[in-house]
């Protein structure tokens, strides 16, 4: 035994219960940490707790074992109330080896006082290097103020199974169930459901591991932080944003999902791959992103409004077709699960980097709608909304998600699938030949489109400037008129929208403005700051084109307005950076132009989701007020 092996920590248990806890399970890849964390999340969701889980994924498929860059695992944040983001530093970590923790420490995932529960098998490893590495690490962790528990995970598991690699995760699940006082009946059901396709023998073994972990913790650990359960009366589903998108695509009744693989968007297609065929649709994996959108456009033109799913680099390739869809008024849903950087760079990491590219990336003017879901539940519903808008307005509609939503898992009320969400039957009635294929309504800009198969409706759709009859326009005034009609659709939609809801007071010292996945972190930071007496509110934009109405009026009620985004902006005070040449974060840039309000921004590109802590730190400085205990 190493000399660092200690008697168990002093009683730190809380019997009254804690409000929330952030737990991480980290290991080499392939050790089932994610399954363990997902199960903990599901059990907690069934207990009525708020949950947010996010996977910790190494860059390589098979990274070397016991390496800092190989950290694979999961973070689970559980609370009495709703949880909307991954939170700040972890409360407790279970690590199957000590090396993987270094990567997380670099990412500031832990703080002094974080409990580290580490498998102590490495202390007795046959390799002196490994033994030394382990001892050194433990010493360093102690210096950092973490509370260390070296626990015999593997040893205990080997009492029940011969290959501990395939079993430790269920033992750890049992351990965590004790620490956070999870309902063991629900845990038992969860384990059974994981292994439902396996033999009874396998199920029994895993249940034994679960119970053994629980009992070991009960007898040996004095860590006990019950998170009180909450009554729930509604059916709950637990999934990540990409899975929600998958379901949304099918529930929207779209028959064609055309894509080219790209992280972090691809898993949205994996989620539906098994089901979509019985749900009346097909995934088309195209030869590249250009073909993917071209194919979707072809299907849409032929009356089967399609969706194409991609990430930033794919958007870049699709740009010309997006312009065509806008100009030729083809309904189309484009889902962009944003990530960092161009084709290489931080490919799997989170960034909200595509707003301006999507808004303005097309050559010439190309109006399109842009929606930004801010929760997992919205990822589902916005896809359905997007198809409806696309068809009603005859326009491409973007749904901007990001890697944070894509991988974040949250419970929400189970949607009841409605028939009205589905695309209506293909209209093959004869077309009224008096109506031209682009007969723009003077007031709304909207026109009705003939669909191939409709007798009397024949027309040639063209990417060239065209008149109401879709005839190539050689007269320049036609182009002006057509552009006006297409642009008017934005204003028409805007007139149907309501101003966004303000979280906090309707006026005050500072208003934070966010879009998309940052909502949970921003709202939490604002609530915490308000508890400390700060005069700060926030608003999350869900429509980015057109923008929700009333923004300027809202902004004017605050002394300062600032966007919070996960993309790049210059920082005032850095060499050469002045008010005049500062490059703003994307939403800030856009809102400044739209409202002429002097909007500041707080943004970063660390490749990580926004955390409440980071926002609070910024607020402390900005408001010159202590907000963090």
């Amino acid at each position: 035994m190493s000399d660092t092996t200690q008697t168990l920590a002093k009683p730190t248990s809380s019997t009254t219960g804690v409000k929330e806890a952030i737990v991480e399970i980290v290991s080499d890849s392939g050790e089932g940490a994610q399954k363990c964390g997902q199960s903990l999340g599901k059990i907690s969701a069934r207990m009525g707790n708020g949950v947010w889980t996010v996977e910790i994924i190494p860059a390589e498929i098979q990274p070397p074992a016991r390496s800092r860059e190989g950290a694979s695992g999961i973070r689970v944040r559980i609370g009495q109330e709703e949880i909307t983001n991954m939170g700040d530093q972890a409360h407790l970590v279970v690590a199957l080896n000590e090396q993987v923790l270094f990567g997380r420490i670099e990412q500031n995932a832990y703080k002094a006082g974080t409990y580290l529960l580490i498998d102590n098998k490495w202390a007795e490893h046959t390799s002196p290097d490994i033994r030394r590495g382990y001892l050194d690490a433990i010493l360093r962790f102690k210096k950092l103020g973490y509370i260390i528990h070296e626990i015999p995970i593997e040893k205990e598991c080997l009492k029940l199974v011969s290959d501990a690699r395939r079993g430790k995760n269920m033992w750890v699940l049992g351990l965590l169930c004790y620490i956070y006082d999870r309902d063991m009946d629900l845990a038992t059901e969860q384990v059974k459901s994981i292994f439902q396709k396996k033999t009874d023998e396998v199920i029994r073994k895993n249940l034994d591991l679960l119970n053994a972990g629980y009992q070991w913790a009960e007898q040996n650990l004095e860590l006990h932080f019950p998170i009180p359960a909450r009554q729930i009366d509604e059916e709950i589903v637990v999934m990540n944003g990409n899975e929600a998108i998958s379901l949304g695509v099918m529930a929207a009744g779209m028959e064609v999902c055309s894509m080219y693989p790209i992280t972090p968007a691809t898993s949205a297609t994996h989620g539906m791959a098994e089901t979509i065929q019985s749900a009346g649709g097909i995934i088309h994996q195209a030869e590249d992103e250009i073909a993917a959108i071209g194919f979707a456009i072809g299907a849409s033109y032929a009356g089967k409004t399609a969706v194409t799913i991609t990430s930033g680099p794919g958007i870049a390739l699709k740009t010309e077709f997006i312009g065509l869809a806008s100009m030729a008024e083809i309904p189309l849903v484009i889902i962009d699960v944003q990530r960092g950087g161009p084709s290489t760079g931080l490919p799997t990491k989170v960034e909200q980097g595509d707003l301006l590219a999507v808004l303005y990336g097309t050559p010439g003017d190309a109006p399109k709608f842009i929606l930004a879901p801010s929760t997992i539940e919205e990822c589902f519903h916005y896809v359905i909304l997007a198809r409806k808008l696309a068809e009603a307005f005859r326009i491409p509609v973007f749904v901007l998600s990001d890697a944070n939503l894509a991988t974040g898992v949250q419970p929400f009320k189970r949607p009841k699938i409605k028939e009205e969400w589905f695309a209506s039957e293909l209209d093959q009635h004869p077309w009224d030949t008096d109506i031209r294929p682009y007969e723009w309504d003077e007031d709304t800009g909207i026109s009705k489109r003939p669909i191939p198969g409709q007798k009397g409706g024949v027309y040639t759709l063209t990417g060239l400037a065209h008149d109401e009859g879709s005839r190539v326009a050689y007269d320049s005034s036609i182009n002006q008129r057509a552009m006006e009609a297409r642009s008017r659709k934005l204003a028409t939609l805007k007139d149907t929208l309501k101003p966004p809801k303000i979280h906090g007071d309707p006026s005050g010292d500072l208003l934070l403005v966010g879009w998309g996945s940052t909502r949970g972190a921003i709202e939490e930071a604002v609530s915490r700051a308000r508890e400390k007496g700060a005069s700060v509110s926030c608003v999350q934009l869900h429509f980015l084109n057109p923008l929700e109405p009333g923004l300027k009026e809202i902004f004017q009620r605050f002394k300062q307005v600032m966007t919070v985004e996960i993309n790049y902006s210059d920082t005032l005070g850095h060499p050469h950076i002045t008010e005049e040449n500062r490059r703003y974060a994307q939403l800030a840039w856009y809102l400044r132009a739209q409202t002429l309000v002097d909007i500041d921004c707080f943004s970063h590109v660390f490749g990580q989701p926004m955390s409440p802590f980071r926002i609070l730190k910024m607020l402390e400085e900005k408001l010159d007020k202590k907000l963090i205990d």
Partner: protein, 319 residues
Amino acid sequence: MIAVNPDACEMVIPDGIFRLEDYTSSKARWCSGCGAHSILNAVKLLCKEEQLPPEKTVFVSGIGCSGRFPHYMKTYGFHGLHGRAFPVASGVKFRRPDLHVFVITGDGDCCSIGAGHWVHAIRYNMKMVALLFDNSIYGLTKKQTSPTSPMGTMTNTHPTGSVLPPINPIQSTLGLPNVSFVAQTVDWKPAHLQATIQKAYEHPGLAFVRIVQRCPVFMHDTYEPTVKDPDAITVLNHEKGIKLSEKELMKFRHVIEHDPADIVKAREVAELVKKTLPIGLFYQNKEAVRYDEYGAHNMGISIPDRMKAIDHLMDRYAV
């Protein structure tokens, strides 16, 4: 069918019958003498012969002189982006097996900017007719080198002559997996052109037809000799190939037998181009896998059943 009343000297054509005019839209704006005109006529004739309902017929084109084609047909049309006709057409066909889809593409459109899509369209093998209008030059943008320009062609981008050997679209297509129909014809032999397009239309899969097309404006010197020289063309003849009447066949000096079932031979014959232009059916396989059949295989599931499937998946996320 057509009701003729000789007493009143009238002929009544009921609604159901389509005449050439029913496929004719605005007047084609190609240069006079452009080979595209005769292709347009041949396609219209095919539509009439086959009585394709205009509303069930879709012409998808890219950009180039040829890209204007759909505008001159009174059917549904999609004049899209440079090089991207294939993906759009594939998307049109995917869930609409009831539509007759034609792809109109140029040599730059297909063999340069759209080359990736060309390769994959051949592999998808969806039932449609693809007509490659090959004038060996970039027409619309005014005489730049095309990937099919013969080496040494003087163009605005290579004033002293193009420097690379051209792509042979027939040979390239014959090298692709799942290829199912490859034919070549010329715009100035109307009977052969017509018979080729007809055969292509009947093919159960993607019928790829390269039509050597005159561009008198930019490529006068390239095509004039071929058009005039009776030795310039070799006809591939076979009972399973492009059918020409005895009389038509007699008009050609060089006729060889070629069995379109033989892909190895087809590739050899495609090489002939270095000496003489081979026209006819190089290869046909009616059994190749068809992606459009996959695309349409699960159509018509009722909404309640679709809802059930989604609900079933939702169960997996229920806690």
